[in-house]
């Protein structure tokens, strides 16, 4: 149990790094779009390929690296009213089922987004903008990597649920609920 907790703490650093990458991408996207507005209004034309670059490069970077961090932060919405009123045994059973379903779903997601990324690489997918082609396919790999990180997070939760006394959909929550 303690080893799981300390491994989880190390893992937290990886997730935080991902969140920072996304945060920086959002800030950079803000600066990029502002520069494009200035360029179009005062310098006589859009930055070449501006909106395609914003949507194809900045948006995926703003979302996927932070996926596991946000998953673990416990902010993702769910309807937990009924769950909280159930008897402990039933609630534990349901939570185990949900976590296992989540593992299955994530394996499926990692698999199919990986297949898509590989096919994108094979086809050398690029997008046309500003008179030239920009390579796109490497960004496809952000998706399976992000979901794989969430899978690791969920496996931590599963381990915590099996080994610990409380069960939950997030690691931190189970820790808290286990406290006397």
């Amino acid at each position: 149990m303690d080893r799981l907790t300390s491994a989880y703490r190390l893992w937290g650093g990886v997730k935080l790094a991902g969140a920072l990458v996304s945060g920086i991408a959002i800030f950079a996207m803000m600066l990029f779009i502002v520069a494009d507005v200035v360029s179009r209004n005062y310098l006589g034309g859009s930055i070449a390929g501006s909106f395609e670059v914003a949507q194809n490069y900045f948006m995926p970077l703003a979302v996927f690296p932070a996926l596991a961090y946000v998953y673990a932060a416990g902010v993702l919405p769910r309807m937990d009213l009924l769950r909280d009123r159930l008897p402990d045994a039933l609630r534990h059973a349901i939570t185990h089922v949900l976590v296992v379903l989540e593992v299955v779903l994530l394996v499926v997601l990692v698999h199919y987004t990986w297949v898509y990324a590989m096919s994108g690489m094979d086809r050398g997918v690029a997008f046309p903008a500003g008179g030239s082609l920009y390579t796109l396919w490497p960004l496809f790999f952000l998706v399976p990597v992000a979901f794989a990180m969430v899978l690791i997070e969920t496996l931590f939760v599963l381990g915590r649920n099996v080994l610990g006394s409380e069960v939950s959909l997030t690691f931190a929550e189970a820790q808290e609920e286990a406290r006397p």
């Binding site: 969140a19 959002i26 800030f27 600066l31 993702l76 009213l81 009924l82 199919y112 959909l169």
Partner: protein, 437 residues
């Protein structure tokens, strides 16, 4: 398996998972993936699951989600809400009714610089509730006023609900913003009236009433002037920029966030803590919305492939021919959905099913977006899932259950009055976007 059987299984599974308390995006994904596999075999996932997360995320219009959230974060972290409420408190000194009304008005002004209700509700809870209490508001009414004021961010543009609706239905976001202005002000007005009625009936809470004294720490006049000027400037940059054609509604998110960042610089608030808090909070909201969007996209593919909308239109044909009745039913269904489920999720999962019905009825898609957004924004204060109420409760310690009772009245009154007016006078929504061009 026959298509009808698949639909039945998926709907049942969807409901079960939702009730079991699973993540909403996971419910959407599981139902979508399960439905697609049952309908067409696992091979279909190569095309309808694998590409969706990236394709859905790589959208220019959706850049507004992180950027409008970032704008709101910069404003909150720069303590502009505190400053604004300080002024509200000064102006209304002594008058309970005025204080509550101005709190709601401040909420709608904050709505104009914030895309989501939850963040504004939390900070209004922090700064407004103590003052309302001091002036004799009961805890639950004070909490409800702050929560209602915060929820206005959901309908007063810019609004994430409107952006998502625009993306899902391919309606220009700029038109939606323009269309929501009058209904947003109407919701504010209804809130003010409901609050006045509550005040008149409940009387003063003697436990809270204290002699008038400065409970807020004094804020220097110079800072107030700077703070109010920069927030006015942000509104001007966003709306003036859109109206003058300098920026598109999509770019307004970036320009607004940048202006808010400059404002925070001027106010001397920018630090590494300021930046990391703003960015991390923004990342959380962004990822949350995007995950639901991705889930809704996959679920939407199942909905399309199973021909649910076409079946539904056939089944509803007699009702569809009476648009007013159909709209009343839809309003009720949405009100209930928004009670239980977070707004963005409802919009995203319902659009694939509802939009074809709306189009068959000949209802203006733009108008319908505003109609839904009104219900969605009051959904922020309806039990059992009312994020705005939870935010206020979390910030003040007043129990959410207590706040929900008056808040539900605020919500129901606003939904009935404003949606009713929208049905009777569609121009309330469609006039401004038309006038813009």
């Amino acid at each position: 398996m026959s298509e009808v059987l698949v639909i039945t299984v998926v709907v049942a599974g969807f409901a079960l998972l939702l009730l079991a308390g699973h993540y909403i995006h996971s419910v959407l994904l599981l139902a979508g993936v399960g439905g697609l596999v049952l309908l067409d075999g696992a091979a279909i996932l190569t095309g309808l699951l694998g590409p969706q997360p990236f394709a859905r995320t790589a959208s220019y219009t959706l850049t507004t989600i992180p950027l409008f959230v970032l704008m709101a974060q910069f404003i909150l972290q720069a303590d502009i809400v505190k400053d604004l409420f300080y002024v509200v408190n000064k102006i209304s000194r002594g008058s309970r009714g005025l204080l509550g009304s101005l709190t709601l008005l401040a909420g709608s002004m904050l709505g104009a610089v914030s895309g989501s209700g939850t963040a504004t509700a939390a900070s209004l809870g922090q700064v407004a509730v103590p003052e309302l209490r001091t002036n004799g508001y009961s805890p639950r009414l004070a909490g409800a006023v702050a929560a209602a004021a915060g929820s206005l961010s959901g309908i007063i543009p810019p609004s994430i609900i409107l952006i998502l609706y625009g993306v899902a239905t391919e309606t220009p976001v700029g038109d939606l913003f323009a269309a929501a202005i009058i209904p947003g002000l109407l919701v504010t007005a209804v809130f003010v009236v409901v609050m006045a009625v509550y005040l008149a009936r409940s009387g003063i809470d003697p436990a809270a009433l204290r002699p008038a004294e400065d409970t807020l720490p004094r804020i220097p006049r110079r800072r107030l002037v700077v703070s109010l000027t920069v927030s006015g400037l942000i509104v001007l940059v966003v709306f003036g920029g859109i109206y003058s054609g300098t920026v598109t509604p999509t770019e307004a998110g970036a320009v607004g966030a940048f202006t808010a960042f400059l404002a925070a610089l001027v106010l001397g608030k920018v630090s590494s803590r300021f930046l990391s808090t703003s960015l991390v909070e923004t990342v959380k909201v962004t990822v949350m919305v995007m995950l639901i969007l991705i889930g809704a996209q996959v679920f939407g593919r199942f909905v399309s492939l199973s021909l649910i909308p076409r079946r539904l239109i056939d089944a509803l044909e007699p009702i569809v021919e009476t648009p007013a009745l159909m709209l009343a039913i839809l309003a009720l269904v949405f009100f209930v959905l928004f009670m239980f489920i977070e707004g963005a999720a409802v919009i995203l999962m319902s659009v694939p099913v509802v939009l074809p019905i709306i189009e068959v009825m000949g209802v203006d898609v733009l108008w319908f977006g505003v109609f839904i957004a009104v219900i969605a924004s009051v959904g922020l204060i309806t039990p059992p899932v009312g994020l705005s109420v939870y935010a206020v409760s979390g910030a003040t310690g007043i129990s959410a259950g207590a706040i929900f009772r008056p808040a539900l009245v605020f919500a129901a009154a606003a939904a009935i009055v404003v949606c009713g007016l929208l049905v009777l006078f569609p121009g309330l929504a469609t006039w401004l976007p038309g006038a813009g061009t």
